[in-house]
Symmetry: C2
Subunit: 331 residues, 2 copies
């Protein structure tokens, strides 16, 4: 590759480092986010249960290639009412035959179907619950020493305390941290709370005006700069971990609020299934433990790039530029 290229792609497994001059032995190349990740131990990676994945098969692309979007649902305790609704909707095959009907540049791609839509594909499952607005945030607990914050995660063996690792870098919106592989916002007003955030590829529940909180029948994925102003105003339920480009590449809608206008073809959704309903081994992913030593180094390197391409380390990083590393499981 002889062309001059912009810095290594954050979203790509490839790095410009492969093109960089070989460093002298006594001056090793400074770490990059990718080189830090590459040195993580096997124990620092955590498997993502295929039962927590929502796999959406779109119609084939115009060039005939397959389009699948793999979404990891948020773990409990975050947005649990909505993710339960989403599991019910997938089990009812509710989205099969619906479509992506709204795409707005630097904003969202949105799909599904709503109960007040005359073209409703099929009835909503009667097991859906109405989730209260109070569930946009989750209460945290602080240890007796007042140093560490946790959320309580239900499990078969009783509740587990999951530590929120505080992000040391300043954010425009709030204190932030990471828990069980996810970035969260945090505040202290009236008892500390934590909430999932809107970054590129985040998936949320479209809704009507308050007090409506959305059922989950209509979802969106962020395809632009992280719209953090939506945090705590709308339910984040997951993130696209593979195939977000299939949504980001769709034609933008020219109707009201970016909905496809008459004559603009929707993109059909062939089916949506949970990962554990599909062939074993096809959807095996893992994420880098956000409480691990390597993740801490990774955050630091994201904030201070000193590798060959960089002249001036930023000295800071915003939460949405700290993408939690996710990979397909080797072997």
């Amino acid at each position: 590759m002889t062309k001059r290229l912009l810095a290594a792609a954050a979203a790509s497994a490839l790095s410009l480092a492969i093109c960089a001059p070989i460093a002298a032995q006594d001056a090793p190349e400074p770490p990059t986010p990718n080189s830090v990740i590459a040195e993580a131990t096997a124990e620092e990676w955590r498997a993502i249960d295929p039962a927590d994945l929502l796999v959406m098969r779109l119609s084939d692309a115009p060039d005939g290639s397959r389009r699948e979007v793999v979404i990891q649902l948020l773990p409990e305790p975050f947005s649990a009412g909505w993710t339960q609704n989403i599991r019910s909707l997938a089990a009812a095959r509710f989205w099969d035959g619906t479509s992506v009907y709204r795409v707005v540049d630097n904003w969202v791609a949105q799909w599904g179907d709503g109960e007040d839509d005359k073209a409703l594909a099929k009835p909503l499952p009667d097991t859906l619950t109405v989730v209260p607005e109070s569930d946009y945030v989750t209460a945290t607990i602080r240890d007796p020493e007042g140093v560490r914050d946790y959320v309580m995660v239900p499990s078969d063996n009783g509740p587990r305390r999951a530590e929120i690792v505080i992000n040391p870098y300043i954010d425009s919106y709030s204190i932030t941290g990471f828990v069980d592989g996810w970035p969260v916002g945090l505040d202290d007003e009236g008892g500390r709370t934590a909430w999932p955030v809107h970054c590129y590829a985040s998936v949320g529940v479209a809704r009507d005006l308050t007090p409506n909180t959305g059922t989950g029948a209509e979802l969106y994925a962020v395809i632009g700069h992280g719209p953090r102003q939506l945090d705590r105003n709308i339910a984040v339920v997951g993130r696209v971990i593979e195939g977000v480009e299939h949504l980001a590449m769709l034609p933008r809608g020219s109707g009201g609020a970016g909905v496809y206008a008459e004559g603009e073809p929707h993109t059909p959704i062939e089916w949506v299934r949970m990962g554990d309903e599909l062939e074993a081994g096809l959807y095996d992913f893992e994420y880098l433990d956000t409480a691990s030593e390597t993740f801490g180094k990774y955050v630091s390197v994201r904030a201070n790039r000193t590798d060959s391409f960089y002249i001036q380390p930023a000295g800071g990083v915003d939460l949405c530029n700290i993408q939690v590393p996710i990979r397909r499981t080797a072997g």
Copy 2:
């Protein structure tokens, strides 16, 4: 429109407010970014000189529709060496017949041609200059009272002082502000400097490893979350003000660093012209003066949404979520 919809699109002229219930007369609907902009006076809008626009015509889309990308170049004193090179390249018709050859999801679309590429479309103009790395930042001056910062802008009537209006909201990367319609980062180390920033739709100059600074023959546009770590490391030269979706919708490359691999078609660039070379009136835009009272209100409302869709105002906003309002000139 009866479907439930996500909050009004930041990137769209439309607002969910059109669907909101009519407020009682004694309780007016709180302002939205769009309602604030709509109340700007004519004097608060500034014309963009078509001579500062770079218009890039791509080949027609697969559906036969026209694809034009309109880029506003940064004004002096920012990145002036590179924007001068870009003007020379446009005058030499250098990009005509080149292509978009690299697209990376949540990162950049990149186009043009490099002098070390065997497939070079035509020779580079011999008027191009090598711009020093020191020009990634611009020196500012402070008034004698030590309160306000300015940059000096060359003009036919001698240099003009352009005030940098400080952004009161915290940013993850630096102090920030706005000058002549553009967001900038600011620091105080060794004499204050200002620099243009990388947000969605920002346009920059691809380059090799330092000390190379790029000629301008290869450009990129950001099609994802603002990669602010690139600020001061690579030259920002402008922003796409219309048609960025034509770049964001392109197929992603599967070759090294997202360059199109063998067999993945590049998107041809038919021509690139400066706006004043094209039919008068076709490319008349204006931006909201970032020193205006209305812009100040707009920033405040972006940080504190209290309109019908919102429950919890963010109380902050990151620089890339304060898009400077730009519109086609009415009439």
